[in-house]
């Protein structure tokens, strides 16, 4: 019968506690009743308790960390956890980091950008965004790591500390918060925003087809149910418009890097036309250096080239617009991997991915710093 005595019989008149396997339940009950032994059920289903305990353990291991030192960079986090991280980082480094709200998403979530600055007024700046496509989880996770890395470099006077002497860095970690929340609650594979436009059957616009560069041309879809739906008009998405407004009013951004996953590519304009970008040769050379730096850490191989020749035609994309605005060093990254896990990259690859990508970002940032225009 496989009875498991949790409180064994040892004296008359004393209770006995027994865990009874399900298949023996009837037999045991029958025996006790036939023998006139009274019993009561203390726990209906032990397994259910164990399952709940597991869930609770998982929940408490995700408990809010108290500072950015104990924050777990090797795990994927929720939007609340990341927004909390940002506040902690600012609180710990008030002289270097500030948080800007550049707008609100369709579902009214704040769009936050971290500004890293050692002073000056409207210094030439570098922009980095992660998570514009919400299912590309390694990018938001890398953004969190980048934020901490910038602070650490500055504290140790190494790495990007020298860049921060003359330039500011802007980092938008959760560029598509509505989509990101949706990947946590409902559909892990959600890519787009969560807007619903008049006349559109389906929800969401591809925020990387919504920019005013070749908008609506081949390389995007006019069907709202498509993953590459460009939206009803350029900048229809507040997530996009807020960045456009920010870039225009700042007026001094010198490098713009938008981070995606997966495919292991470093891309530069254009996506909407086969006409080579006027600065293609320089962008190609910078890409070669950046990719070599990335590869030097763990041997991760990246291809590089223009969007349209390397991956596919894409219209209305972010860096085509920023490049046409005069931001010469406009790049898009596609991070790990090449398809084995795709969007579902194991959490233990977050930090290695962020570390190697950072080396490539530094090449671009240093090049921007050393080539004023």
């Amino acid at each position: 019968i496989q009875l498991d005595f949790w409180l064994a019989p040892h004296r008359l008149g004393r209770p006995v506690d027994i865990r009874v396997p399900f298949r023996s339940l009837q037999a045991v009950k029958a025996h006790l009743e036939a023998s006139g032994v009274s019993y009561s059920i203390m726990i209906e289903d032990v397994q259910a308790l164990l399952d709940e305990e597991q869930r609770e353990m998982l929940r408490s291991s995700r408990q809010r960390s108290l500072d950015t030192t104990t924050f777990n960079y090797e795990a994927y986090h929720t939007i609340d956890e990341i927004y909390n991280f940002m506040d902690m980082l600012v609180a710990e480094n008030p002289n270097l980091v500030s948080k800007l709200e550049i707008g609100r998403s369709t579902e009214n979530r704040p769009l936050y950008v971290l500004k890293f600055s050692t002073g000056g007024t409207n210094r030439p700046a570098i922009w980095i965004d992660t998570g514009i496509h919400s299912r590309e989880w390694v990018t938001q996770a890398s953004g969190v790591w980048f934020a901490k890395k910038i602070v650490q470099d500055h504290a140790n006077n190494e790495g990007v500390a020298s860049i921060l002497e003359t330039m500011d860095i802007f980092l938008e970690i959760v560029t598509n918060p509505d989509g990101f929340a949706y990947t946590h609650t409902t559909n892990r594979m959600w890519r787009k925003t969560r807007s619903k436009h008049a006349g559109a059957i389906c929800v969401g616009v591809d925020p990387n087809r919504n920019w005013d560069a070749g908008f609506g041309d081949a390389g995007a879809s006019g069907n709202s149910c498509s993953e590459t739906y460009h939206g009803p008009y350029p900048n229809s998405e507040p997530e996009v418009k807020s960045i456009v407004d920010f870039v225009k009013s700042h007026g001094n951004i010198k490098a713009f890097i938008s981070i995606h996953s997966y495919s292991q590519l470093l891309l530069y304009p254009y996506g909407y036309t086969t006409t080579p970008a006027p600065d293609e040769q320089e962008l190609h050379e910078v890409s070669a250096k950046a990719v070599a730096a990335l590869s030097s850490l763990y041997g991760t191989q990246f291809e590089y080239g223009s969007i349209i020749t390397t991956i596919y035609r894409a219209s209305g994309s972010t860096v085509d617009w920023t490049y046409n605005q005069g931001i010469k060093y406009s790049f898009t990254f596609e991070l790990r991997d090449t398809g084995r896990y795709g969007f579902l990259l194991p959490a233990k690859q977050i930090v290695p991915t962020a570390q190697e990508t950072w080396l490539a970002l530094k090449v671009i940032m240093e090049h921007a710093r050393d080539n004023i225009y």
């Binding site: 795990a75 994927y76 989880w137 990947t183 946590h184 892990r188 594979m189 890519r191 591809d206 879809s221 498509s226 993953e227 590459t228 495919s263 191989q301 291809e303 590089y304 080239g305 020749t309 390397t310 991956i311 596919y312 090449t338 398809g339 084995r340 896990y341 795709g342 969007f343 579902l344 990259l345 194991p346 959490a347 690859q349």
Partner: protein, 220 residues
Amino acid sequence: RAMELPPGRFPAARAAAVAVAYLRYLRGGPGSGLQLRELRRARRQDIDDVGHKYYLELELEDVLDKDRTVNCTAEVLYHLGSKTSAPDVQVTVQGELRSTEEADKEFYNRIRSLEKELVAENIPDSHGNVPPELEPIHLLAWVASGYVIWQNSTENTKFHLAQVKHVKQVKRSDEDLQFDFVVLLHEMVSQEVLPWEVTLLWHPQRGARVPQSRAAGAGS
């Protein structure tokens, strides 16, 4: 007559993905998963009234033993204008793939002796985790999706297995193992994530067969 192609650009990369999918279907199993390490060389030949033929030199690695690589050559012929015909693929592997005979037999016996039919979902999970005991199932999903990808690829598509949404073992009276999969395939050009229902039959000696597959209904 065959034009040299830059391996880093998408036309060659798409053809290579088809060749790898085909090879996974042909030679994959619960103990082995092949992935592309490097596309060494690619050429394309446009054949009048027939289609576009790609000649590829590939270096593959075993995901379970990254130190082992194997070279192969492949030919991928996309038929002209045809949306219903799968590309013709031929692959020649140079040298030996790692033998998985023991792992295959162990897996086969383990599944055959299960009292309750295996059921699992979300492999990998949202965080990229695959429990070790489900890794062979994950690799068999690669075999199943290898077939679907090969059958449904064109020069304008590039598919990857995004996730195993659901898998159910179906006990059979013959010696094959049967798994009914619902897999999510990510198509790179359209960026769509498409659910496919695929039935896989597998046997340690006879290998894999896909008796049926179909795109699953919308609205999942």
